[in-house]
């Protein structure tokens, strides 16, 4: 099955898909593998692996900190591909990767290596759809899906364009801002989700940036096809290791199941 099929399959679970994020190489090269395992055991539907980059301009302090540490640990692209390879037989893996890392490897070569490692899809936060050029087509040829971002500032016209190129899911950014923990689901996030879904052309829509509690995840799940959780998990890894993150994630998964049961589905 190609990446697109794997990703769309992960969303057909009768509840919102759970998409935890981990920074490759954090807290250590080996530690990140344990985090990935813990996510799978906790019932992750897709695992998002952040490929460390020196200048992660879409990320807030927590993920900036983890990527800086990971680079010091020696988490290069080869390591990230290897990490993906270890997980991708059990769960679809998407890369969160800044464009320069792809570009430095060579777009064609990178896509081949990613496909070979079983990477199902790519989130490239600094590659808006206008700059895709041949990227989407080349990715499709290698069987790797693309997951473009949609933002509160995106016009309807842009959302349609984003929906057209989304061969994986649409990554809906809950709020104008960078990644980081927020107490509650931002106001307007549900309305935004409805707007994005109406324009996404059938691609699943996952909500990310700032979801850091079971309540917010459950609330988001009322509209979202999936929820992406990053900063909170990375802080848990920092404080209590893979096990703490896995336990907390299991709680989120239960909350998502309850939410769907409560909705009467």
């Amino acid at each position: 099955m190609d990446g697109s099929g794997k990703i769309r399959g992960a969303f057909r679970k009768g509840r919102a898909a759970l998409i935890p994020y981990l920074t490759a190489g954090f807290p250590t090269l080996e530690g990140a593998r344990e985090v990935g395992e813990a996510y799978v055991e906790a019932g992750a539907d897709i695992v998002e692996i952040g490929v460390p980059f020196s200048d992660p301009l879409a990320d807030g302090p927590v993920i900036q900190g983890t990527t800086a540490r990971a680079i010091e640990e020696g988490a290069n692209l080869d390591y990230c591909l290897d990490l993906a390879r270890g997980l991708s037989s059990r769960v679809p893996v998407v890369f969160l990767i800044y464009y320069n890392v792809i570009f430095a490897r060579g777009v064609g070569r990178f896509l081949e290596e990613a496909a070979d490692a079983g990477v199902a899809g790519l989130v490239v936060p600094d590659l808006p759809v206008d700059e895709f050029g041949d990227f989407g087509r080349l990715a499709a040829e290698r069987g790797v899906a693309v997951c473009p971002l949609a933002a509160p500032t995106s016009t309807d016209e842009r959302l349609e364009k984003i929906g057209r190129v989304a061969t994986g899911f649409v990554y809906c950014v809950s709020v104008a801002g960078v990644t980081g923990e927020r107490e509650r689901l931002p106001e307007g996030a549900l309305a935004l989700l409805r707007r994005v879904k109406a324009k996404s052309g059938g691609a699943p829509v996952a909500l990310g940036f700032g979801i850091s509690s079971a309540e917010a995840a459950a609330e988001a799940a009322a509209e979202a096809d999936g929820v992406i959780i990053g900063s909170r998990l990375m802080r848990l890894v920092e404080e209590g290791g893979a096990r703490a993150a896995g336990e907390w994630l299991r709680g989120i998964r239960e909350a998502l199941e309850l939410e769907r049961a409560g909705a009467g589905d």
Binding site: A68, N76, A104, T153, V173
Partner: protein, 403 residues
């Protein structure tokens, strides 16, 4: 929309293969809004009049083209002329762009201004125009730079700006830009980001270049007045490259004018500790644009080094990358040591303490002057004055002299 660079039509937002808009989706709307505002106002008579009169009365334009008689004699080559951007209000060319952009921000109804700064000159220029237009202003500055450019931190604070030290990454300009972009993503509705050089996502490189091109237009007029022709060469320092592109722009494609950009070779190109991205960088994407970037094989951006805080940036504006590839400008470099020597020479011989950035251009100007020979005319863009650098320079000179 088409634009011209070096006489060639290129894809919108691009200079040849360089440039573009590699930013999070959240910012696209703001960039489109900025582009529309710029298209609308750049030819609007009221806007042009406001910019022109403030350039004259507030900035002090036109800045003089001064004959550097003693350097001309000392070097024994071409006539050396200084384009005195150091005499512009706030002490550097940076004010040209800051002024143009505050006018745009004001018309776009933005109440809050953010900026990044390395040496502090752009921060001071932005704080200045924000004060004049009554806008809230936050300037991001690498922690290291807040220490080595303390004078400018004090100036910004006096002007009412908040200086936000950036402690991530290299703690210099590169990370200040990241942090400014993060702020902009978060506050995009009411905030305008005044980017300080010809970098960043489209349309910034073009807007900043256009506001700086006043330097080149004045050089053209003043050269004809003073020596009856175009200069035979123009030399300017290149970090990210705004003073250079401003001086070069009207002359791009004219075969009678050599355009020479001088990058920071730091401790030497071979040392790896430098800011010479055109000489040693590879094509990459940083801060929203495709250009030459100092990076590892894996695409991690490297830290740049220069004795001048204004030049230690690991990339260069996309239009410079294009000019280099097309052979429309030459790019060379000067080391810390060479630039310090030029800093001293200019101070003692001409009575002008130049910015350390500018000293890079002065160093290389000697070589160009000698190549051109007597009777030819060479313009050095004196991009800024060196007040801000005296402490750093004194330290570096003392080290050099073993004191």
């Amino acid at each position: 929309m088409q634009q011209k660079a070096g006489g060639e039509e290129v894809r919108a937002g691009y200079f040849g293969p360089y440039g573009g808009r590699y930013v999070p989706e959240t910012l696209i709307h703001a960039l489109e809004e900025l582009e529309e505002a710029y298209e609308r106002y750049r030819t609007d008579p009221e806007f042009v009049e406001e910019l022109d009169s403030l350039s004259r009365d507030f900035v002090g334009r036109p800045t003089p083209l001064m004959f550097a008689a003693r350097l001309t004699r000392t070097w024994g080559g071409a006539n050396v002329w200084f384009k005195r951007e150091d005499l512009a209000h706030t002490g550097a060319h940076k004010i040209n762009n800051a002024l143009g952009q505050i006018l745009l921000a004001d018309r776009m109804g933005k109440r809050r201004i953010i900026a990044e700064t390395g040496a502090g000159q752009h921060g001071v220029a932005t704080a200045t125009v924000a004060a004049m237009y009554g806008k809230e202003c936050v300037v991001y500055m690498g922690e290291k730079d807040t220490v080595r450019q303390r004078l400018n931190v004090v100036r910004m604070e006096l002007l009412g700006a908040k200086v936000a030290p950036v402690g991530s990454g290299s703690k210099t300009l590169k990370d200040a830009v990241n942090e400014a972009i993060r702020d902009w993503v978060t506050n995009v509705e009411d905030t305008h980001y005044i980017i300080g050089s010809v970098v960043g996502p489209a349309p910034y490189p073009r807007i900043v270049r256009d506001f700086q091109a006043v330097i080149g237009r004045e050089i053209e007029v003043q050269s004809r007045e003073r020596f009856g022709s175009d200069p035979d060469a123009i030399v300017a320092c290149v970090g990210a490259g705004s003073n250079a592109i401003g001086a070069f722009y009207p002359f791009i494609g004219r075969e009678n004018v050599r355009l020479v950009g001088v990058e920071a070779a730091g401790r030497g190109l071979a040392s790896g500790e430098h800011g010479a991205s055109l000489a040693e960088g590879r094509l990459g994407v940083l801060h929203g644009a495709k250009s030459y970037v100092l990076q590892t094989g894996d695409g991690q951006v490297r830290e740049a080094h220069s004795v001048s805080a204004g030049l230690d940036y690991p990339a260069t504006g996309p239009e410079h990358a294009y000019l280099k590839d097309e052979g429309l400008a030459e790019y060379v470099s000067a080391t810390d040591e060479e630039s310090l020597a030029a800093f001293e020479l200019c101070s003692r011989v001409e009575g002008i303490i130049p910015a350390l950035e500018t000293a890079h251009a002065i160093h290389y100007a000697e070589k160009v002057a000698k190549e051109l020979g007597p009777g030819k005319n060479l313009v050095v863009n004196l991009s800024g004055r060196g007040d801000k650098d005296v402490e750093e320079a004194a330290k570096a000179l003392a080290e050099r002299d073993g004191r």
